[in-house]
């Protein structure tokens, strides 16, 4: 279970640079999630770690050992692929034991390990079948099992749940979370789904356009994103962004925009004094709105659509020209077409520089 260090690693295809040089450290026995929209370079990063792509520059170290010249098989890792990548001509037992058989493990050892993992993953009754005879969820388990029977130091997951339907995905996610706690290994997990990232990761690395935007615990990313991209990417429903301008009145910093004027917390106000530009983007999470106007600064919103989700409802509302999502309890039903006054929890408001997108 080595500590994995990316040292100025970069990747180009011909003259196209997909990943400019970056540094990244994955601590020993950590579950790291690389998350970002498609094309952000997260899969490429994982594939370079796996040895399926060459590095264009820099070096990857396992502890202090450079590994970028090693074959995948010499890197002591196991990988779960997005499309499972099972061997179609081998039955499940053979699929799972392939690596062990190549490593010339003894028959009894192979059988013991395969049985143990298959039992753990609930696929013991499928060992004689071919991959084509399994459903998507079962194939997913086999792919997971094939990685687990190998006692590798590092496990790589390349969007392992994205081919499953929503219900199964939720179930497998929970099982993975459980597995994470019982297996003491390095795990590197790539996904575009921020829910997976938040629920599974000890640490999340948010990537966009080949750049690492921010890394930290799920809570850090949610509570103090460094820029507008991270703020918008983490959290569901996504954060609302509204253009506004900073003003000062009676010793309080206010942010004013089309159809709203909100006071900011003293701490935030102080920080904003040095802001170069008064043009900002206001970020408010849908969960920062309350129906009880006493608890926050008042804002008037025109409800356009009310999406009932069960215990919660998501309201699509309009503030000036901007769409604003509001998350409310369904116990106080709100009809579409009405104009409502909500309270905004001012300590949860985030202010971003309009030009650079950096959080102020």
């Amino acid at each position: 279970m080595p500590k994995i260090v990316f040292d100025k690693v970069s990747k180009s295809y011909g003259s196209v640079e997909v990943l400019p040089p970056f540094d990244l450290t994955l601590e020993d026995s950590e579950f790291t999630v690389l998350v970002g929209p498609s094309g952000c370079g997260k899969s490429t990063t994982l594939r370079m770690l796996a040895g399926l792509e060459t590095l264009s520059g820099g070096e990857i170290y396992f502890d202090d050992r450079p590994i970028s010249k090693l074959d995948p098989k010499d890197r002591d890792l196991a990988m779960v692929f997005q499309d499972y990548a099972l061997y179609p001509h081998m039955n499940i037992a053979k699929n799972m034991s392939f690596a062990l058989r190549l490593a010339k493990a003894s028959k009894s050892e192979i059988e013991e390990k395969v049985t143990r993992v298959a039992t753990m993953l609930n696929i013991a009754h499928l060992l004689d079948r071919k991959p084509a005879e399994l459903s998507g969820g079962q194939r997913q388990r086999v792919a997971m099992g094939r990685a687990l029977v190998r006692d590798a130091g590092t496990f790589l997951f390349d969007e392992p749940l994205s081919n499953l339907d929503a219900k199964l995905r939720g179930k497998m996610r929970a099982e993975l979370a459980e597995m994470r706690d019982t297996i003491d290994k390095n795990m590197v997990y790539v996904t575009h789904d921020q829910v997976e990232a938040m629920t599974l990761g000890d640490r999340i690395v948010v990537m966009s356009d080949g750049l690492i935007q921010q890394q930290g615990t799920p809570e850090e990313l949610f509570k103090s994103p460094v820029n507008k991209f991270v703020a918008g990417f983490i959290g569901s429903p996504t954060m609302n962004f509204i253009d506004g301008a900073l003003t000062e009145e009676k010793g309080v910093t206010w942010v004013r925009g089309d159809g709203f004027m909100l006071p900011l917390d003293a701490d935030l106000g102080k920080r904003l004094q040095s802001a170069a530009s008064k043009d900002v983007t206001v970020g408010i999470r849908p969960s920062s709105f309350v129906t009880d106007t006493d608890r926050g600064a008042a804002i008037e919103l025109k409800v356009v659509v009310a999406e009932y989700l069960g215990a919660q409802s998501v309201l699509v509302t309009r503030c000036g020209d901007a769409d604003v999502l509001v998350e409310t309890q369904s116990t106080s039903p709100i009809r579409a077409g009405t104009i409502q006054t909500f309270g905004v929890l001012t300590d949860e408001i985030m202010i971003f520089d309009k030009a650079s997108g950096l959080r102020l």
Binding site: A50, F81, A85, P88
Partner: protein, 305 residues
């Protein structure tokens, strides 16, 4: 009601021209040949004048040492060339299945021999095998070796026709294997790499088993073709020296034109036809088995959702 009937007939209406042409161009000659094989028929006679001899032609052939020799040469030829071609074709495909500059040009060059007319191939090789002015013997001579009797010695002649056939038909196996290789699931190959498979192990445990359905069909197609080969050998050796390269199709043509035994030639053709039908049937059975298996797997997967 009326329209419904017409609609039901439409497909057969469209099939009819093709069916008629099939019957005239294929079934009629085959029927004619089968009938002829029961006759003692000289080319100077009309078919009606020929004497009906039942199975005599077939029985005579079984006892005919030259025919048996021919049959054996054909078998030997087909087995040797197809084995060599499979080995070389699949090997080349495994080697060239990669993206390097100029690969598309190289691939095109590799399949050129297949596009040359067999007669031309035969003539080309005959000049190259020529005992004094051919390129092989001239090269051997300039290097100080003795010339080789490429086409005048029985064993060498067999080897020579094998070389020419391998040269012409390896590309066929090469392109089919390459296509099979390139349609293999890439991620399974990557999984194998991570599972610790070396290049050889990937070939033996993953690539070849996954290519197997295509390889089997390729093998059978090539085998059927190899049994029917004629032109190249006709031009190169005309079956000689002795009977060393006299494959069945050559013997059939000689029986008909030189020995003027049309009935016997027809019976010989039928033996060859039966052999080829066994191969075709094997291919059909194999395809059927593959289909059945796929259907069974699909069904099992659906039941188990």
């Amino acid at each position: 009601m009326q329209t419904a009937n017409v609609n039901r007939l439409t497909p057969y209406l469209f099939l009819a021209p093709a069916a008629v042409i099939m019957a005239v161009a294929l079934l009629y000659p085959i029927g004619y040949m089968v009938y002829a094989s029961f006759l003692d028929w000289n080319p100077s006679q009309r078919i009606g004048e020929a004497e009906f001899v039942g199975l005599r032609n077939y029985i005579n052939l079984l006892g005919d040492a030259s025919f048996r020799e021919s049959f054996w040469v054909t078998m030997k030829f087909a087995m040797v060339v197809v084995s060599l071609e499979m080995f070389l074709g699949v090997g080349l495909a495994l080697l060239l299945d990669r993206n390097i500059r100029g690969m598309s040009v190289l691939r095109t060059l590799f399949i050129l021999p297949m596009m040359i007319a067999p007669i031309v191939v035969g003539l080309m090789w005959r000049y190259m095998y020529h005992p004094t002015v051919g390129i092989f013997n001239r090269t051997l001579k300039s290097m100080g070796f003795d010339p080789i009797p490429w086409l005048s010695d029985g064993n060498w002649a067999f080897a020579s026709v094998v070389i020419a056939d391998v040269w012409q038909w390896t590309p066929f196996i090469f392109i089919l294997s390459l296509a099979a290789l390139q349609s293999l699931p890439q991620s399974a190959m990557e999984a194998a790499k991570i599972d610790g498979a070396t290049g050889w192990q990937q070939i033996i445990h993953i690539k070849l088993p996954l290519m197997m359905p295509v390889l089997i069909v390729t093998l059978l197609l090539r085998l059927i073709d190899a049994f029917k080969v004629l032109e190249v050998i006709l031009v190169l050796t005309n079956g000689g020296p002795g009977l060393s390269t006299e494959i069945l199709s050559l013997r059939i043509s000689r029986t008909a034109s030189e020995f003027r035994e049309l009935g016997e030639a027809a019976a010989m053709s039928n033996y060859l036809l039966i052999l080829l039908m066994i191969l075709t049937f094997a291919m059909f059975l194999y395809n059927k088995a593959v289909e059945l298996r796929a259907a069974r797997l699909r069904k099992a997967a659906e039941e188990d959702l």
